[in-house]
Amino acid sequence: MGNILECHNLTKKYGSKVALDNISLSINSGKITGLLGPNGSGKTTLIKIASGILSASEGEVMAGGNRIGVESKKIVSYLPERPYFSPGMKVSETIKFFKDFYSDFSEDAAAEMLKSLEIKMDARIRTLSKGNREKVQLVLVMSRKAKLYLLDEPMGGVDPAARDFILKTILMNYNEEAGVIISTHLISDVEKVLDDVIFIRNGKMILHESVDQIRSEKGKSVDALFREVFAC
């Protein structure tokens, strides 16, 4: 066990707008952490920086003990909100692609999961429904034995059965050497699966506690606490 993600005084500015304000946190491996906050709070910005898509304005971010860069990308598995495969690619080609670039990718695990979802290997991405497209991406991301999984709103716009599948996949792939960060605003679905939660508002981290702590100390669910804290 060690630190799978560390941020020291992380700040991200877009011109005069501050998206992340002096965030310092560390997340241990073996934990499933929820990154919770309203839209525009900075959760996606934080995840994008950790995955290497965005660079910090100030401060330092380390993933798996590496500064964000080629080395950290080897051990970080990122699921963005967007579809990121070329629509003309076949599902089998996406598997080959991941296999080519990621040494920790398990082709068999991916194939098995896709089979249980009844998604055909030679189907082209553009012919799949939105839900299936997202499932393919999730399957590929979770079929890597990464040290840090960054899931950006994995359950937005997806039906409840699919949400269950996503949570089940996350649980089945859990291992103590890895950390999972899920950013979401669908908290009640996800709460049972989380070890810890981080509340973010306006780019500032306002809470980082374990779910058990919140429930026993505050006597309410994380969902309820969230509604309180972020009441408009």
């Binding site: 898509i53 660079s55 990308k73 970080v76 963005p80 967007r82 495969f85 070329s86 670039f101």
Partner: protein
């Protein structure tokens, strides 16, 4: 990893390009056949073949243009879509450097353009058109040797001169591609609502084009000015050679500048939507 990136980039463009190559080669074959038939036959069929020959030759010329245009469009679209739009989420989280991503695109673009030239030349040869106009392999070789000996008389190494021209051609190709890419990168580094980043890229490209022309004219004038306007015939080859070298240097500088801009923007200011 660079080789893997190149493999995927080649595959992505290769499908479409090879279809057009095939089309062009087929046109060339048709031109050749109709040409031979119209020469061999007389009368109505011979004449008809003659008209067909001209028609297919026209189509072939069009396809030459098509190849160039399609290649350029393909390269630019692929660069933009793969690195600066949704696919960028995949590409920029791969364990590869931005430098590798960039050069994979550049190298495959160069391969496609050089491939275009090779296939165009091949098509022309197959079609027999050069022969119609008196260009045979022999005449080509003769032209080269004449040039070589002629150059020698002026104290200029003919082969070196040809090599300089080829190098210039490749550098110009690189510079053009990197200029396009940099314009796209600059356009796409702007963020904001209602901002059309493609339009900005086009505007940036026009600006870089103007800059390039201005600098080139300036450089050539400067050289001419420094050397004086009276250039004896014996010095002409050397003189133009000098201009070629200066162009190579300038193009190289621009290439480095544009490549650096592209890479730095992707490393620091990646703004995927």
């Amino acid at each position: 990893m660079l080789d893997k990136l190149i493999k995927y980039d080649l595959k992505a463009g290769g499908r479409i390009i090879s279809v057009i190559y095939l089309f062009m080669l087929l046109c060339a074959v048709f031109v050749r056949i109709t040409g031979m038939l119209s020469n061999a036959l007389d009368g109505f069929i011979g004449n008809a073949m003659g008209y067909l020959w001209m028609f297919t030759m026209f189509i072939m010329i069009l396809s030459v243009v098509a190849v160039c245009v399609v290649t350029l469009v393909l390269i630019l679209l692929r660069y933009r879509n793969n690195l600066l739009r949704d696919e960028g989420y995949l590409m920029h989280t791969l364990p590869v450097s931005a430098v590798s991503l960039y050069f994979s695109k550049i190298i495959t673009s160069l391969i496609f353009f050089i491939g275009d030239i090779a296939v165009i030349i091949l098509s022309f040869i197959i079609s027999g058109i050069p022969a119609e106009f008196g260009f045979t392999w022999d005449s080509f070789v003769k032209m080269l040797t004449t040039f070589h000996y002629g150059a020698k008389e002026y104290g200029v190494n003919g082969t070196l001169y040809i090599i300089v021209i080829i190098v210039l051609f490749i550098i110009c190709l690189y510079e053009s591609i990197s200029q396009f890419f940099a314009s796209i990168n600059i356009g796409y580094s702007i963020s904001g609502k209602g901002v059309n980043r493609d339009l900005i890229s086009v505007a940036v490209y026009i600006a870089t084009y103007i800059i390039l022309q201005v600098v080139m004219v300036f450089a050539i004038f400067a050289t001419v000015f420094m050397h004086g306007f009276d250039v004896p015939e014996t010095e002409m080859l050397n003189y133009t050679g000098l201009l070629l070298v200066i162009t190579i240097i300038l193009m190289s500088v621009f290439s480095v500048i544009y490549s650096t801009i592209s890479i730095k923007l992707m490393q620091k200011k990646l703004n995927l939507e």
